[in-house]
């Protein structure tokens, strides 16, 4: 073998090594470039990017395929609303699924109308009016409004209830987060403006029910019987969403007609008894 060919082998080998090094370097650069690019993208996407990671993985891997994007979106909304820790802020996608909130009957022995409200929700106003019409058909001498355990404070339902008992004037005030205050009033007239009323309260009466109780007493329309209330005192408004579903959102704290706060304060009864005994006590009071 000549020196020359030996030399060219060495040169060739050196060139080959140099080429390999350059190519490896180039590969590494490309790899790193994409890695950095991706890390940057993730960082820029903000905290919510984790949600999209989860969404994508579920879409790609979930056994049997995930439910529709709409169902998953509702799920995400329900989850996010749950993080507010407020049971009355909800999304309703099917109003037919709402359970009735008002029960009414006549206590025949005493000729007293009895209305219990489980929750001041979106349909409560209409249900309440239907109950009131029943009493009009079978005239009663007095009314017991059972607000024991009543939660929620859908603004229009709260107004409807007060409107039945009050002949015009102030119903309550709502104070929004930005400090803005809105006065809700009653229409003149009303189905039960002349009947004596007893309102039953318990430790877990909250929201609009507290404003109803406080206002009825201030306006001289009711005796409050039972236990001091929770002091939740917040109210919900409804927002129609673009897909036809409705968002019920806690938007305000309530004040009574005389501008007394119930949020964080609650309402104390006129006649303090255990909430379980409140109905019997109220019947006694109304008989007098």
């Amino acid at each position: 073998m000549s020196v020359k060919s030996a030399k060219s082998i060495v040169v060739g080998a050196a060139l080959f090594v140099a080429l390999a090094v350059v190519l490896c370097g180039s590969f590494a650069a490309g790899f790193e470039f994409q890695r950095q690019r991706r890390a940057h993208q993730t960082a820029e996407a903000g905290p919510f990017s984790v949600f999209w990671e989860a969404w994508g993985l579920v879409e790609r891997y979930f056994y049997g395929g995930p439910p529709s994007p709409q169902a998953r979106t509702y799920g995400a909304i329900r989850g996010a609303l749950a993080s507010l820790n407020d049971p009355y802020t909800t999304i309703i996608t099917d109003t037919a699924a709402l359970s009735p909130t008002v029960t009414a009957r006549t206590i025949l022995t005493a000729n007293v109308g009895y209305i219990a409200i489980a929750e001041l929700g979106p349909r409560t106003g209409a249900e309440f009016q239907a109950a009131v019409e029943e009493f009009a058909a079978a005239p009663v001498k007095a009314v017991i409004l059972d607000l024991r355990g009543t939660g929620g404070g859908y603004l229009t339902a709260t107004q409807t209830i007060l409107d039945s008992f009050l002949d015009g004037g102030t119903a309550f005030y709502a104070v929004y987060r930005d400090g803005r205050e809105q006065m809700f009033t009653c229409e003149p007239g009303g189905a039960m403006t002349a009947l004596p009323v007893a309102v039953l309260l318990s430790e877990d009466t909250g929201g609009g029910a507290e404003a109803v109780a406080g206002t009825l007493r201030e306006r001289g329309r009711a005796t409050l019987v039972g236990a001091a209330t929770a002091g939740d005192g917040t109210a919900q408004a409804a927002y129609r969403l673009s897909d036809g579903s409705t968002l019920y959102l806690t938007v305000a704290a309530l004040l009574t007609s005389a501008h007394h706060a119930v949020h964080n304060v609650g309402v104390t009864p006129d006649v303090a008894v255990k909430s379980d005994d409140a109905l019997a006590t109220a019947l006694d009071i109304l008989k007098e």
């Binding site: 350059v22 490309g30 994409q34 949600f51 879409e59 509702y74 909304i77 609303l81 407020d86």
Partner: protein, 430 residues
């Protein structure tokens, strides 16, 4: 002139090669992120997370696994606009404090997963994910106690201590309530936050404020942390010459621990072996396959099937220590997932007699993904079937000999184990 052309050509070729290599590197990183080459899909299989074991400092957040960025379809994005519509209203009008965006994100993920109606597809927040990942390795650094959250008091309750572990040495007992860790109250914290405080590097110490029934005042206990292996196997030679092995969960060392126990017992020439999988909630799939393989020479252990009908078979390999010895497997309603895989395989292959009660019935496969912020998403990806193609999910495995647990059983009684021993003795002709 010719040289110049040659040179240009060479330079061009070189350039093309360099650009090609760069693209190859870019593509590799991209594909890695697209998940084609994710580290082996280890599969978790616990229906309920095994009781978290107290021990190490807030373990370092695991490095994020490169994740597939599934491009969002426009339709999905459009549908999801409703979420922002709602959240916009909340931000504008909600009366009350808004949680920070990270909490909202996690809550949205939980809610989205709820819509799947599958309790095993789960999202685990970063701190809990780190602790669970550490536990799954089979060892951790801490005090060596099993803990749970006492719902009523919001404090951490000790449900057991490791034999000879630091907690036991320091005098901690089952039933003790921990209210403070190094002066920090844990009331209002999650279980995993509390565990994060209690765990820490071996050799360091931690001071716990402990409440104990019968002791009026809370008192302090200082424990020196150690590196501990989670005791998952207990074994012994019973009086009748029957070897007994109990496996608490299928963590990363399950196969190794069972094999060692088996080797020790077999050297004492037992009449047979009882493998106790009662109350074993599961763990890693590879460990389940490994444990089943210890007793099988060849053939199928498990069929994993995706919803599109594709399947994967896991096979046994000959040459293990436990392939000949007479075997009884004890199961009950708390035997789930990996336990059901082992029991189902050994029953179908007629390698063991199952005694006890029908198992839990969790035969779905979860694949864990680490998300960008260290949290973990477990997605149900497949179902499991026994070698004879029996579904495990929703059905469980029914034992060959059903022995219900009597309600009035005393603390030292174990009629299911007694039946297993009797069975092995009769089978061996003794």
């Amino acid at each position: 002139m010719r040289n110049a052309v040659r040179f240009t050509l060479a330079a061009l070729v070189l350039l093309v090669l360099i650009v090609g290599a760069f693209c190859a590197g870019f593509g590799t990183a991209y594909l890695l992120a697209e998940n084609y080459l994710l580290p082996s899909p280890r599969v978790t299989v616990s229906p309920t997370t095994p009781p978290p074991t107290v021990a190490t400092e807030t373990a370092p957040a695991p490095t994020a696994t490169p994740l597939p960025t599934v491009p969002l379809s426009e339709e999905d994005q459009e549908t999801f606009q409703l979420f922002w519509e709602v959240w916009g209203l909340v931000q504008q009008y909600f009366y009350g404090d808004l949680p920070d965006m990270q909490q909202v994100t996690y809550a949205a993920i939980h809610g989205m997963l709820n819509s799947l109606d599958d309790p095993y597809t789960a999202f685990i927040e970063p701190q809990a994910a780190a602790i669970i990942a550490e536990d799954a390795t089979g060892e951790f650094q801490g005090i060596g106690a099993y803990v749970e959250m006492d719902e009523e008091s919001g404090k951490v309750i000790i449900t057991g201590v490791f034999e000879g572990g630091p907690a036991e040495k320091a005098g901690l007992q089952e039933g003790d309530l921990i209210s403070e860790v190094d002066g920090v109250s844990i009331v209002g914290k999650t279980l995993y936050e509390a565990i994060g405080l209690i765990r820490g590097p071996a050799g360091t110490s931690v001071t716990l404020l402990v409440e104990r029934e019968g002791v009026d005042e809370p008192f302090e206990v200082t424990v020196v942390r150690a590196k501990l292996e989670i005791p998952i196997v207990e074994y012994k030679m019973l009086d009748d010459g029957v070897g007994y092995i109990s496996l608490r969960e299928f963590s990363a060392t399950a196969e190794k621990n069972v094999r060692e126990a088996l080797e020790d017992l077999l050297s004492q020439e037992p009449v047979g072996i009882v493998l106790d999988l009662r109350q074993n909630p599961g763990g890693w799939l590879d460990q389940a396959i490994g444990v089943a393989d210890l007793f099988l020479d060849d053939g199928t252990i498990l069929i994993e099937r995706w919803s599109d009908g594709q399947e994967k078979r896991y096979e046994a390999h000959p040459g293990d220590v436990g392939e000949e010895v007479p075997l009884v497997v004890l199961v009950n309603g708390g035997s789930a997932s990996a336990s059901e895989i082992v029991a189902g395989a050994l029953q179908d292959r007629e390698r063991a007699t199952l005694i006890g009660e029908t198992t839990f019935g969790k035969g779905s496969v979860q694949r864990p993904f680490t998300l960008g912020d260290g949290s973990e998403l477990r997605v149900t990806i497949a179902r499991w079937f026994t070698p004879n193609d029996r579904a495990i999910h929703g059905r469980g495995i029914t034992p060959d000999i059903v022995v219900p647990w009597p309600e009035d059983a005393g603390p030292d009684e174990d009629p299911q184990l007694d039946r297993a021993v009797e069975y092995l003795l009769i089978a061996s002709g003794q």
